[in-house]
């Protein structure tokens, strides 16, 4: 099991986010998940700014590993590379 710090910026309605989370679950990877669409007001704006720092397109899912590796979209190969 990976000991890396993993944060998933996701939308509750996004199918790629759902698949990415399931893949991480199947890999036994523990992660923190933020559903940005469930936030409102300043909290949402602050989270959008946070996602932008890792991914200027602010697309979902954005998976950040150990605060420096960023996987944009559901990409099994990249997740395997950083977490496998």
């Amino acid at each position: 099991m990976s000991q890396k710090k993993v944060k998933v910026y996701a939308l509750s309605t996004c199918i790629h986010c759902k698949h990415a989370k399931k893949y991480l679950d199947d890999m036994g990877v523990a992660y923190e998940c933020v559903h940005v669409d469930e936030l409102t007001g300043d909290e949402r704006k602050a989270m959008v700014e946070e996602v932008r720092r890792f991914n200027p397109a602010t697309s979902f899912p954005t998976v950040v590993i150990d605060d420096n590796c960023v996987v944009i979209g559901f990409k099994k190969d990249e997740l395997d590379k950083y977490l496998g």
Binding site: I15, H16, V36, D37, K45, V48, A57, F60
Partner: protein, 116 residues
């Protein structure tokens, strides 16, 4: 309206234009249609389920499904950004099924999500 009704209504409109639903109905198409209805209830319009809506139709106009980027994405990748609409070749697996990058311009996104 439920996702099945939406599926039938959209299929009749979109297939003649060359836009086909992803053949992975259980894994992709039906969950995406269900989430379009979630966004309809949430925002009042069917924002792309894989994008963050601002809630105002004017700000979200370009990402209301079918989004303004579908034509270019399907032409280049055989699939739209969220994978709901694809070409026949994509469904048949005769072209690579790649992750479609976000085509929405950053300034548009910023104006929608961070503007006043």
């Amino acid at each position: 309206m439920d996702a099945k009704t939406l599926y039938e209504a959209l299929r009749k409109m979109q297939e003649p234009k060359g836009y086909f639903f992803n053949k992975d109905l259980d894994g992709m198409t039906m969950p995406l249609l269900e989430n379009l209805l979630v966004n309809k209830a949430r925002y009042g319009h069917m924002v792309c389920p894989c994008r963050l809506g601002a809630g105002s139709f004017e700000k979200d106009r370009d990402i209301v499904c079918p989004c303004a980027y579908r034509e270019a994405d399907v032409a280049e990748y055989g699939s739209c950004f969220c994978g709901l609409y694809v070409t026949q070749a994509w469904n048949e697996g005769t072209i690579p099924q790649r992750t479609v990058p976000e085509r929405r311009p950053e300034e548009k996104l910023l104006a929608a999500l961070l503007g006043d």
